[in-house]
């Protein structure tokens, strides 16, 4: 039987009148690369924040690596590496000072994190920029720095909100390969994306959220079959499932 890294059992979260997540149940096995797909406002980021323990569910139960994020927040945070959609770093620190800070917060010994930092800096082509102030970094450089920060503490679970958005194609490729490599070592990754090709290329399992509800879950191949058309793509399946298949009509209307 597979060990579950993350378990959501009928989890709901409301913000005033808006039901962001509605009775959501998910089981994510250890070592899985799990993709959260859905249009804007579908509840992807809220789900991630619930898993992180940053938001408290109104109802339902969440378990992360066997722990309740609300009851054991520090222990859960120790095993998670998180990259938010828009990384907010301390702009007055240099990249290296930021990573040093993150390592200290996680209590990672120098001899453990420094070789890793140097390897990642080189891989993401940030070497030579580590002593520059983050305020002068491009969005992509900030994204890479945040990703390195998330990987520093050897997390058991990586939570990445749109992680490849600001990356150049080489870095995106490195990131994809890296996710596969660490998955083989048993690290679980949950990530959200709007880019369906990326989800198809790297996710072992994908779920589609829509207005806070789970529409479907499965491998990319299983989801493609749901569109009921031969040789259909994941995009077509996604548009069909999220009732967005009228895009062609909209584009035509916009053109005139």
């Amino acid at each position: 039987m597979l060990n579950m890294a993350v378990n959501l059992d009928s989890v709901s979260k409301r913000f005033g009148e808006i039901r962001a997540v509605n009775a959501l149940s998910l089981e994510i096995a250890e070592g899985t690369v799990y993709g959260l797909l859905g249009p804007n406002g579908s509840g992807k980021s809220t789900t991630m924040k619930l898993i992180m323990g940053l938001l408290k569910p109104d109802s339902g139960r969440i378990t992360v690596c066997g722990m309740d994020p609300q009851k054991e927040p520090l222990n859960v945070k120790r095993v998670i590496g998180y990259v938010p959609e828009t990384p907010r770093l301390y702009e007055f620190l240099t990249g290296m000072e930021y990573l040093d800070f993150i390592a200290a917060i996680h209590g990672i010994p120098t001899e453990q994190y420094m070789p890793k930092v140097n390897r990642f800096l080189k891989a993401f082509e940030l070497s030579g920029h580590e002593n520059k102030m983050i305020g002068g970094y491009s969005n992509g450089m900030k994204q890479k720095t945040a990703i390195i920060g998330a990987l520093l503490g050897d997390p058991e679970l990586l939570v990445l909100d749109e992680p490849l958005g600001g990356l150049d194609s080489k870095s995106a490729r490195i990131m994809k390969d890296l996710l596969h490599t660490i998955a083989e070592e048993g690290v679980t990754t949950i990530f959200s994306t709007h880019v369906l090709e990326i989800a198809e290329a790297i996710c072992d399992k994908i779920c589609i959220l829509y207005k806070g509800n789970l529409l479907t879950e499965g491998t990319a191949e299983e989801l493609k079959r749901l569109s009921d058309t031969p040789d259909s793509t994941l995009e077509e399946a996604f548009l069909k499932l999220t009732n967005s298949s009228d895009v062609r009509e909209i584009v035509e209307a916009l053109a005139y």
């Binding site: 992180m52 940053l54 520090l74 222990n75 945070k77 120790r78 998670i80 998180y82 938010p84 907010r88 770093l89 301390y90 702009e91 007055f92 620190l93 240099t94 290296m96 000072e97 040093d100 800070f101 993150i102 390592a103 200290a104 917060i105 996680h106 209590g107 990672i108 010994p109 120098t110 994190y113 420094m114 002593n131 520059k132 102030m133 305020g135 002068g136 970094y137 920060g149």
Partner: protein
Amino acid sequence: MSFKKALRIADVLVLASIRAKRGVKLDKDGTAKKDQRNEKVFLLGLPVVSAFIYLLLWKGNTPVEVVTSLLSQSLVFLPSFSLLLMVMNGLMFEVSLSSFSTSTDIINWLPIRAKEYVIGSTISAVYFTLPFLMIIYGASLGAAIYAGMINVWLLTFTLSLLGLLIGGFAIEIVRAALNEASSVISKRAGKYGQLAQLVSTVVIIALFSMVFNYQVLLKVMTWFNITVEQAWFVPLLWPSLAVIDILRSEFTGGALYFGGSFIMMVAFFVLGVKARTKYWVPAPLTVTLAPTRQYSNRNGVWSLFGFSLAEQAIISKDFKALFRRREMATFLAIPLMLGAVTFINNDVSSLWDTSIPIFERLGFFLLPGMALFILSFYLALVSVGQEGSAFMNLRVGPIASSSIVKAKAFVGFVPSAVILAGILSVVGYVVKPSLQGMMTIVIVSFATIIEASLLGMVFATRYPDFTEVPRAKFISSEATLLGLKCRNTAGTSR
């Protein structure tokens, strides 16, 4: 050149500055309201204040000779003061806004001429300086009507407006030069460049704050009136020298200085345009800092105070923020400003005068002591909000809230404690209180700044404001008011 375009630029710059400073107020339908406080003060300042001062002098039956003497000094000082205030205001604008709201490069790619931008930018700067000056002009107008010196007042008023424009154009040159200089210094000098920038920012803010201290202003005005004539070769003083000559009925000299001032204004405008054309808006710069040490996650100096590794990391980060973020310079200027005011308003030699009771000599240090109390309070008060959206880094990290509070309270305490140690050394060396007295002073003063820091933390944790755009706010306005009230109560009780 299109003057209409210059006015539109001024309009946008004014709107951006007002919203950056005061936030955006919305109508019921969600439309952004126009803040017209400056216009109201501008229009009402002159008539209301002049009428009030006139009635005050008339009601008090003040001797005309007394009014004439003080008014003459004020009228001589006003044109140079207007110029100075304009320059200080411009510099304050440069240093006080966060990089989010100031970093704009639209003038690089919009079809705007340097002339149009310089005029627009100067008008927007005048807009913020003039309301305060209108109150001073109003006060002098009331006195001038009472003393029958309305002609000289009109001349002073004209020269003051000229001074404002000279100051406005001068600041355009300074801004362009500063941008270029700070780019070069920051790139080449790294952390020394940053330190130089911090020191100059703190000094500017301290000087600017002192302009609004009436005791300091009176001293400067008296000194100015005595020495201004010896510095006739400084063009920036010509507007004031024109007033002096007119007061003495030396009309040729007055006309020359007036004409000279006008030519200077045109010259500054041309130079401002040239500086903007040459440097325009610089590209955002990247500062590289050489690491001061080998990165190592071992316990440092702060562990001596019992802090964990993670708490030490927060302390170290917050100290970097204190010395690297422009917004924080305002707080560092507090002790400098109040210390300078103490030295200007008091006779320093009296500290060594043993005939004066010790208690009175200790009074000299009261204001600097208050400054440290305020510094400690403010550093703690803004400590949580200054994290901005980067607070997420702490929230997702395995660190308890109590550790964050402990570390931040300590950062609020340390700068004041260091300065306090220096002040107490001076007290011990110069005033020489008894051992018992000295120990009491040491314990009470350190306890006071610890108290201020903890008090600040109470409000910082309850009412943080993480807003960063258009301007970093750090703490909600309600908490600032509440905190100030508590701070004053606590300070008074000491």
